[in-house]
């Protein structure tokens, strides 16, 4: 089949539009940076002790603990069991892999809906050389470095799971394998882990807010400091809703920050280019959920490609109304602001 540059541009734009949000990127990056710092600190301390006391036969390095701010619903390391609730989901099945005796963990789950995610949590510090590969029914599902956790996939898309051989009300098998190096997601050889630590893994199924077990509220919530740079307009407060006005253009985004459990629904209204038409075409663009007291930034794309994902056909410069509705927040625990291209 002939494939032109135009076709390719169209396919790339179309496929990229399914990536409609990037929740937790900043929190995940912070976790990884913190984990690296701790590893460096522990290594440095071990070297210092070894140099100062050569008569000491071994340096015992205690197991670290996860970042309290970002693992509120996880069990402390070393893990004895997977967390009962993660990111709006209740544990269906899971297990814990203990190093160095084990490099593989296998468990079976039976889903009753497609609102599923796989979550893994690795004790800290974690050897940078060790990665994890997660398969479902023998099919590669997710892979990558450990220590920062692996992002969940609560997208509710059946196809992702059916491609992995998952069927509702039938058992499926998850296997978590530790490997040396960066796995490509293909065939890798399992490697015995070099030291202690643990990996907790589980499959979680979304439950309603009433069924969810929230972590205890901290006495003081994290700061809702604005993200610096290019803030054009903002909303915030406790529950309620408000509307911002802007124009769609490349790089136009809505940044929603939450520091407590709650739900923020974002809808956009596209104004007609015809001045004689006053109606606004409203579409729900995203529903953003926070399930703990971690500071989270959600990014909603308001460029023409992002709007196309909601079925709105806009061009750069078109006038937009952005409606933000917050619910479930007991405090002034969220903000939403528009941010133009950097």
């Amino acid at each position: 089949m002939p494939v032109t540059e135009t076709d390719l541009r169209a396919v790339l734009a179309e496929r990229s539009s399914v990536v409609t949000g990037a929740p937790d990127t900043l929190a995940s990056v912070r976790r990884r940076i913190a984990a690296r710092r701790r590893r460096a600190t522990v290594a440095g301390a071990a070297l210092a002790v070894a140099a100062a006391a050569v008569a000491v036969p071994a340096v015992v390095v205690g197991r670290g603990h996860p970042e309290p701010a970002t693992t509120a619903t996880r069990t402390p390391a070393p893990y004895e069991s997977p967390a009962a609730f993660v990111n709006g989901g209740r544990l269906l099945a899971g297990g814990v892999l203990h190093r160095p005796d084990q490099s593989t963990l296998t468990f079976t789950f039976v889903p009753t809906s497609w609102q599923l995610t796989i979550d893994t949590a690795c004790s800290d510090p974690w050897p940078a050389s060790l990665s994890e590969v997660v398969t479902v029914n023998g099919h590669p599902a997710i892979s990558g470095s450990c220590g920062g956790g692996v992002s969940g996939m609560f997208n509710g898309e059946a196809q992702f799971w059916t491609n992995l051989g998952v069927r509702l009300d039938q058992p499926s098998t998850v296997t978590v394998t530790l490997v040396v190096g960066q796995p490509p997601g293909g065939v890798v050889s399992a490697s015995p882990a070099p030291d202690d630590g643990s990996v907790a893994a589980g499959v979680y199924q979304r439950v309603s807010p009433d069924e969810y077990s929230y972590p205890p509220r901290p006495r003081v919530l994290e700061s809702l400091d604005p993200v610096p740079g290019g803030v054009d307009a903002r909303l915030g407060g406790a529950n309620g809703e408000g509307t911002l006005s802007t124009q769609t253009r490349a790089g136009e985004t809505l940044v929603v920050t939450t520091v407590a459990p709650g739900v923020v629904t974002v809808a956009v209204g596209l104004w007609s280019r015809d001045p004689h038409v006053t109606g606004v075409d409203w579409r729900e663009l995203d529903v953003l959920s926070s399930w703990d007291y971690t500071s989270r930034h959600f990014i909603v794309n308001l460029d023409p490609v992002g709007l196309a994902a909601a079925g709105l056909h806009a061009v750069s410069g078109d006038r937009l109304s952005v409606n933000v509705k917050a619910s479930g927040f007991g405090d002034q625990a969220w903000t939403a602001h528009l941010q133009g291209p950097g």
Partner: protein, 170 residues
């Protein structure tokens, strides 16, 4: 603290865009998030040395991390035969877009990175070359070969259509 704030602001402002780029390269949302986070962590280590707009710098880390660090994947390429010489005809049908996406997933990583940078990020040949650390002429030839390979990919064989989703996850 100012550096940290600047970095946080940059991550917040750029992550949606770069996640899309990473997704187009990896074809997998979780892998894309992992790739993007890795790029940011590496960027943070050199943050003090980044002058001006950090976006090209992080994009370079991301593309090279993808194109070069998982070389083992290259062994999994699906042979597609020799590239045809005939020029492409315009206007692929909408129904074939899924096949194009699948075929894209079969390309070698560096060729896929070249296509994403050229035709999604809309970078010039010289900009793409600078990011990947290769000559502009190589970008041109890689893009040309990649497009040629797409045209003869088995995904466009009607007999293969029922199987196009199998076995292409990174």
């Amino acid at each position: 603290m100012a550096e940290r704030s600047e970095f946080d602001a940059f991550v917040t402002a750029s992550s949606a865009r770069l996640l899309r780029t990473a997704f187009l390269m990896t074809h997998d949302r979780a892998a894309a998030e992992d790739l993007l986070q890795t790029a940011y962590v590496r960027a943070w280590r050199a943050w003090r040395r980044v002058d001006g707009d950090p976006l090209p710098y992080v994009r370079r880390i991301l593309a090279n991390e993808y194109a070069s660090s998982w070389r083992r994947k290259w062994r999994d390429e699906v042979p597609t035969g020799d590239a045809p010489d005939e020029p492409a005809l315009p206007q692929a049908s909408v129904e074939d877009r899924d096949a194009v996406w699948t075929a894209l997933g079969r390309l070698p990583r560096r060729q896929r990175a070249v296509l994403v940078l050229r035709y999604y990020e809309d970078l010039s040949e010289s900009e793409t070359a600078a990011i990947l650390g290769i000559a502009a002429g190589t970008v041109k030839s890689q893009a040309s070969r990649a497009l040629a390979r797409l045209r003869i990919d088995p995904s466009f064989d009607p007999a293969m259509r029922g199987h196009r989703h199998a076995g292409h996850r990174d």
